[in-house]
């Protein structure tokens, strides 16, 4: 029930941030579109962790497990960070909680270090690589606590990189080009894993034997495709949105 509790807390924090911003006369910064994106982000996380996908991922199909990971580690963090961009991010924590955290040098130093682009990317890539080592993958499937920890790792790593990609607090840790470069590097790193899964001629994860008419090998290849397609959709959309203003400027500029 940990995911439900966490989602409930997140929803409450978002709701109070919205109410506070609206009371200050800025409903434009806390519109229903933001609430819809945030709700969708939470729904994606809960559906991935509690719905039928979780049962299939744990018991029969690797590609469902990969789908679960990209949903909680990529799509949900993307939706949540886009939803809270701007002043909503500051209002997310009530003042009595935010003030001591913001004043704490340790918290600031930790966040500053974690959100350095190279550090955040290294954490994200290491998380991707480590949790796909067959031994660890199977171990996590056998031990629920480790499995839960794995899912927390996916969420944390996803939130770190998507905070840099979306820049919800306008900290400008990366320029637009830098964000495009990070997205491209993430795609290239994901592609390495995709290639290992798709190009392998033997099933790599002994816990999966294939199901529903899919052989273990086809299931594994599909899991690589799931990763590639999801990354193309999320990172591709981000890059298109980042570059759109420049393309428009280039089109309007006199030849």
């Amino acid at each position: 029930m940990l995911p439900v509790a966490a989602a409930l807390v997140a929803a409450l924090l978002f709701a109070q941030a919205t109410v506070r911003l609206r009371r200050r006369g800025r409903p434009d910064l806390a519109g229903w579109d933001r609430a819809a994106l945030f709700g969708l982000g939470l729904a994606v996380t809960l559906a991935a962790l509690l719905g039928p996908l979780d049962r299939i991922a744990d018991s029969s199909l690797l590609f469902a497990h990969m789908g679960q990971h990209v949903l909680i580690g990529d799509l949900a963090p993307a939706l949540l960070t886009v939803a809270v961009r701007g002043p909503l991010l500051v209002f997310l924590l009530p003042a009595p909680v935010l003030a001591p955290l913001a004043r704490s040098p340790r918290v600031r130093a930790l966040l500053g270090a974690l959100l350095r682009p190279r550090v955040a990317f290294a954490i994200w890539a290491a998380n991707l690589a480590v949790w796909h080592v067959p031994y660890l993958y199977d171990l996590a499937l056998r031990h629920q606590t480790l499995h839960d920890f794995e899912h927390v790792c996916w969420v944390v790593a996803g939130v770190l990189v998507w905070t840099l990609l979306v820049d919800p607090g306008s900290h400008r840790r990366l320029s637009v080009g830098g964000r495009v470069a990070l997205a491209a590097t993430m795609f290239a790193a994901g592609q390495v894993l995709t290639d290992v899964l798709v190009f392998s001629f033997h099933p790599l994860y002994p816990a999966y034997h294939g199901a529903d008419g899919l052989s273990a090998l086809t299931d594994q290849k599909l899991s690589g495709v799931v990763m590639m397609v999801e990354q193309l959709l999320t990172l591709g959309t981000l890059v298109a949105l980042l570059l759109r203003p420049r393309l428009r400027r280039a089109r309007l500029a006199p030849a």
Binding site: S175, V176, V180, A181, A184, Q191, D195, K221, A240, L247
Partner: protein, 238 residues
């Protein structure tokens, strides 16, 4: 004829020789451009005049797809990178300036998928001259696709969009080869086998090779344009 004997395909040898002579007669180019152009020509001429062609035309789809990747994905950008600015301007005067990115992309996709349609592929393999047509379409499609990028008419953001669209649009073919558990081409299903590959294994390996090659080529090109984007930002900020 042995499965690995050298083939002789005069058409592309002659065309490569003509291109080399025209290139040599133009104003001297920097060494790196000469190397690019020469490598592009060698890739086309050698892959069509070597055991690659023999194996591709008689035994293995895997090798045919390797050949197609060399002549359609790798040789064309090298040939175009080999052209100096004067040469590109000359091509522009001859009508190349009319090649819009969206049409080039569509033509390339059409060439890529069209030449791999089972009916056409099998027909081309059974008729020597038609195989030349297939290779010609692929080379031309590749040249068209890379022209808007190499001609420098696309800004870095536009080039990234163009490459992204090309990468996504072209990747389905490799995936079909990887996932299909039946041979798509009747020619290879009945061809004598080589190196112990079954027709399906041959096809799966071909798809893997095609996807891996395209991933490398496209990610390299995307990396270059991301670097240019960062460079432009740095120059604007200073």
């Amino acid at each position: 004829m042995s499965a690995t004997s050298f083939s002789f395909e005069p058409l592309y040898l002659v065309l490569a020789a003509i291109a080399a002579v025209l290139y040599a007669r133009a104003r001297p180019a920097p060494r790196w451009r000469i190397v690019c152009f020469a490598t592009g020509l060698v890739l086309i001429a050698a892959s069509l005049n070597s055991p690659l062609e023999t194996i591709a035309a008689t035994r293995l789809l895997l090798i045919h797809l390797l050949q197609n990747a060399l002549i359609a994905d790798i040789a064309p950008p090298l040939l175009l990178l080999g052209l100096t600015i004067e040469m590109r301007e000359r091509l522009d005067r001859l009508g190349a300036h009319r090649i819009r990115a969206r049409y080039a992309l569509s033509a390339w996709i059409l060439a890529w998928y069209g030449t791999h349609v089972a009916g056409f592929y099998d027909w081309a393999l059974r008729n020597g001259w038609a195989l030349n047509v297939e290779h010609g379409i692929l080379i031309l499609g590749g040249l068209l696709f890379w022209w808007p990028l190499v001609s420098g008419r696309l800004s870095a953001p536009a080039a990234l969009g163009y490459l992204g669209a090309g990468f996504v649009a072209s990747s389905f073919l490799g995936l079909v080869f990887i996932f299909d558990s039946r041979p798509l081409y009747s020619f290879y299903a009945h061809a004598p086998r080589l190196w112990g590959f079954s027709p399906v294994r041959d096809q799966n390996l071909g798809g893997i090779l095609m996807n891996a090659e395209q991933t490398l080529v496209f990610l390299a090109a995307i990396g270059y344009y991301v670097w240019r984007l960062l460079d432009e930002e740095q120059r604007t900020s200073t």
